[in-house]
Symmetry: C2
Subunit: 492 residues, 2 copies
């Protein structure tokens, strides 16, 4: 009983708060459904009210259990969030699809909700263009909400937990953290980040609208651009628009959203951008994405797939889209030389910055790893040399390097284990590995049967659950969830 | 000039010594060619004499440059050995094949020699049963010679260089090493290891002969069993014999050869086997290989590929053969559910012990990694806890853990880079990744177009060179070769 009251109930209370706010989000599809008269408003109203009720009941019922949360609670909370929220988010999806005569399984709806909230953007649905608009709004809005949550997770919560060395990603905004409590500074940090996120979203939606999208398409694609989610309201994804201008706008906003949001916040508060341009991770992210665009364009051109201009347009759009873990496509790039899609898939694992809405290993870890590998090679020649690993002006502590290396190990083992599980469930190797990599990187389309022109609906329910787990693990930066499985976590 | 005299010439002198002894090895195929009258003895005599001449010239010509070798020289030497020896070893292969009207390219012959000497056992040749016997003897004997060299490399040289934390694998035989010199203890250690290797070889050949092989087949398959090489004189590999008894003998010797040879040496010198049975790496290797056999058998049985007995026979033989990096096959296991071959391929990366003739990551590194990952997870919950990583009774130094983690990183990056290079050269993803993994693990057969029933002759010369590089990198435990590429290596 005592472990329950001290550990679970305070966490459940916060879950109630989150659920209450999440319920308010359902107002958007409800409003859209009402104004577009797509006949689903009763379902949205019901789902919103039900979620609100559960949230308020938890919040109020456990109000006596308000207390400071410690790192251990943080791990339970973020894990619980990714299990419970999709449950409520998938409820109206399933009801609405059944109402329009296109029922899907519970596993499929849950997958779709996890894919939305983790900003993965993989889908089990087809015929998106003929779906009631409120469903598409909800699908893309989930990504935007997920992106909002992830900013707080990445900038405020994970650094406190020290997941995979992420204490190093701690933005200056947060200031030196003197205690281990989760609550005090998170609200301040969150407000600042959400301000940037809202401003970026407004700019993106207006740009899409000015670039030729309908207002509702502009909003939906803004949702999935700034969150690096990549869901679309069209079966042909971004190819629906066939507009180089819109693609260029999209590339611009994806690049902006791939950098650490805390950098924007700091730059704005300080009134100058010097620190921003000096940030080694931001530079590496842009070099990786733009360099990746050059590589893919070069492959397309040299292998005579397209002329130079078309190769540049398609190469850059897809390298940035896939590399930034967004996952938009304008063509079926599986028809390209297979090096290109594989290269982009690998890029999605490393390119985005910590503190962005992107996923995967994160560029700062890659930089630390590269410097550590360089140090080991120098040690091979000069065994007694003592050299610190430095990133920018900062010396990286050995403990952080250990944590990053452990993260890489868990990342590799997770991908191999989950992919082998899919292979055991009769998925072909290319589809299995690419689906798991695309899921762990919260990117979306894979290779083989789950490519950009296909969808995850081809997988069985059991196979979908493996991908669902992969998305959640990727979003949680792996270790925090796995920590739940270690016995020492549950010991006092 | 000074760098040349201090660094290169002493190393070249040792290269001359090695080449001289290597030339003596050509006496075996020469003798076989003579007694079997296959008409190739002139070629073997010529190649042997030529190699001997080059070796003696270097040895005698540089006799004034005899000096102690330091770690840096060790790195140059072992890298040079894997470039120069295959050159001389491939020479008679190419000449002999041309003489019997089956010419192959220089790249193919070099690949075959590297595959032999690194104990990989991949082949570009077909129609093995109709090859002159002296060629098959040379192919398999190269593996045995390579295995002999690798024992010294793994037990005496790499630990001194500290490659990827391998100072930890240092066997007790070597005793505490007080200085950084390469020469003093290596001769003693080498003699002991070679004694074990010779005794094991004799036992294996006699067992194969008693089990029903012809004497010459017994010797050739002994060569490729104790070295974990896996080349065969038959196109159908070990399936040629169709004998459960021979397969059982083979499994036994592969298991023995997968453990650390220094353990056998220590046990014999001490007269008791207590330390042997307590060695955590030896236990883990046997658990991995035998457990792997159980897993593969279970998959074959539950998926109704074979009856229980046949599933056990085939599952154990192939899991041990592939997992121990030998690479014998009795059936085309690509016809099995694809989980099984992929699982065995992954097993080949981790199962063998350091100080064996096996290749890949090595079990001791895996154990260190597992313990380090466990420590990081405990740190997530108890951030201030200080816990050393222990293996057996020994505390593993943080520096060793760093080196092992760096090794893993380089291992992963090497596999991905080389496989992507193959993909760029138009190899399909499954073939590319499996060929590189099989090469880096010095195992042999991959999946796709380079499976157990196929051969590497389907690859182009350029593609073969990528695999050749992968085999050499894997054999050198990666870092030592890559150290050559770092600028600080060449600074004084
Ligand atoms: K995405
Ligand atoms: K082998």
């Amino acid at each position: 009983m005592s472990a329950l009251t001290t550990h679970f109930l305070p966490v459940l209370r916060v879950m109630g708060v989150l659920l209450t706010f999440f319920a308010l989000g359902v107002a958007l599809p409800l409003g859209i459904s009402w104004t577009h008269s797509d006949g689903l408003h009763a379902i949205w109203a019901q789902a919103g009210a039900g979620t609100l009720l559960c949230g308020v009941l938890l919040w109020v019922g456990l109000r006596r259990h308000k207390r400071e949360l410690h790192p251990r609670h943080g791990i339970i909370l973020v894990s619980l969030v990714w299990v419970v929220l999709p449950l409520f988010a998938s409820w109206p999806i399933r009801e609405a699809l059944a109402a329009v005569g296109r029922p899907i399984s519970f596993s499929g709806a849950y997958f779709e909700a996890v894919s939305g909230l983790t900003t993965t953007g993989a889908t089990v649905l087809t015929g998106l263009d003929t779906l009631p608009v409120s469903i598409n709004v909800w699908r893309t809005f989930m990504q935007w909400l997920g992106g909002m949550g992830i900013l707080v997770l990445a900038v405020a919560i994970l650094p406190l937990l020290g997941v995979g060395g992420s204490q190093l990603f701690k933005a200056e905004v947060a200031g030196p953290i003197k205690d281990n409590r989760l609550t005090p500074r998170i609200t301040d940090t969150a407000k600042g980040l959400w301000g940037i996120y809202a401003a970026l979203s407004l700019a993106c939606a207006l740009a899409y609208w000015a670039g030729g999208m309908t207002p509702i398409d502009a909003v939906m694609h803004m949702f999935s651009t700034v969150s690096l989610g990549g869901l679309s309201s069209h079966d042909t994804s971004f190819g629906h628009f066939g507009s180089p201008l819109l693609e260029a706008i999209s590339v611009g906003f994806m690049l902006v959203a791939s950098c650490n949001f805390a950098l924007y916040f700091t730059a704005m508060r300080k009134g100058h951008w010097r620190g921003f341009w000096r940030d080694p991770e931001m530079r590496a992210t842009l070099v990786a994405l733009i360099g990746g665009g050059l590589v893919v364009s070069a492959v397309l051109w040299f292998k005579n797939v397209y002329g130079l201009l078309e190769a540049l347009r398609l190469g850059f759009f897809h390298a940035v889209s896939i590399g930034s873990t967004t996952g938009y496509a304008t063509v079926d790039y599986l028809a390209w030389p297979v090096f290109a899609p594989m290269f982009m898939l690998l890029l999605s694992g490393i390119a985005t910055s910590a503190g962005s809405t992107g996923c995967g290993i994160k560029m700062v870890r890659v930089l630390i790893l590269l410097k550590q590998a360089g140090r080991e090679m120098r040690r091979l020649v000069h065994p007694r040399a003592v050299q610190p690993v430095k990133l920018g002006d900062k010396v990286v502590d050995d403990r952080v390097i250990f944590a990053v290396l452990a993260f890489m190990l868990v990342y590799g083992v997770t991908i191999i284990s989950l992919a082998m599980l899919l292979v055991l469930a009769d998925v072909d190797p290319v589809t299995a590995f690419s689906a798991v990599i695309a899921s762990v990187n919260c990117m979306g389309p894979g290779l083989g049967s789950v490519g950009p022109a296909a969808h995850y609906g081809v997988l069985t329910d059991a196979q979908l659950w493996v991908c669902t787990l992969a998305m959640v693990l990727g979003r949680l930066e792996l270790l925090s969830f796995i920590a739940l499985l270690t016995p020492s976590f549950w010991r006092r």
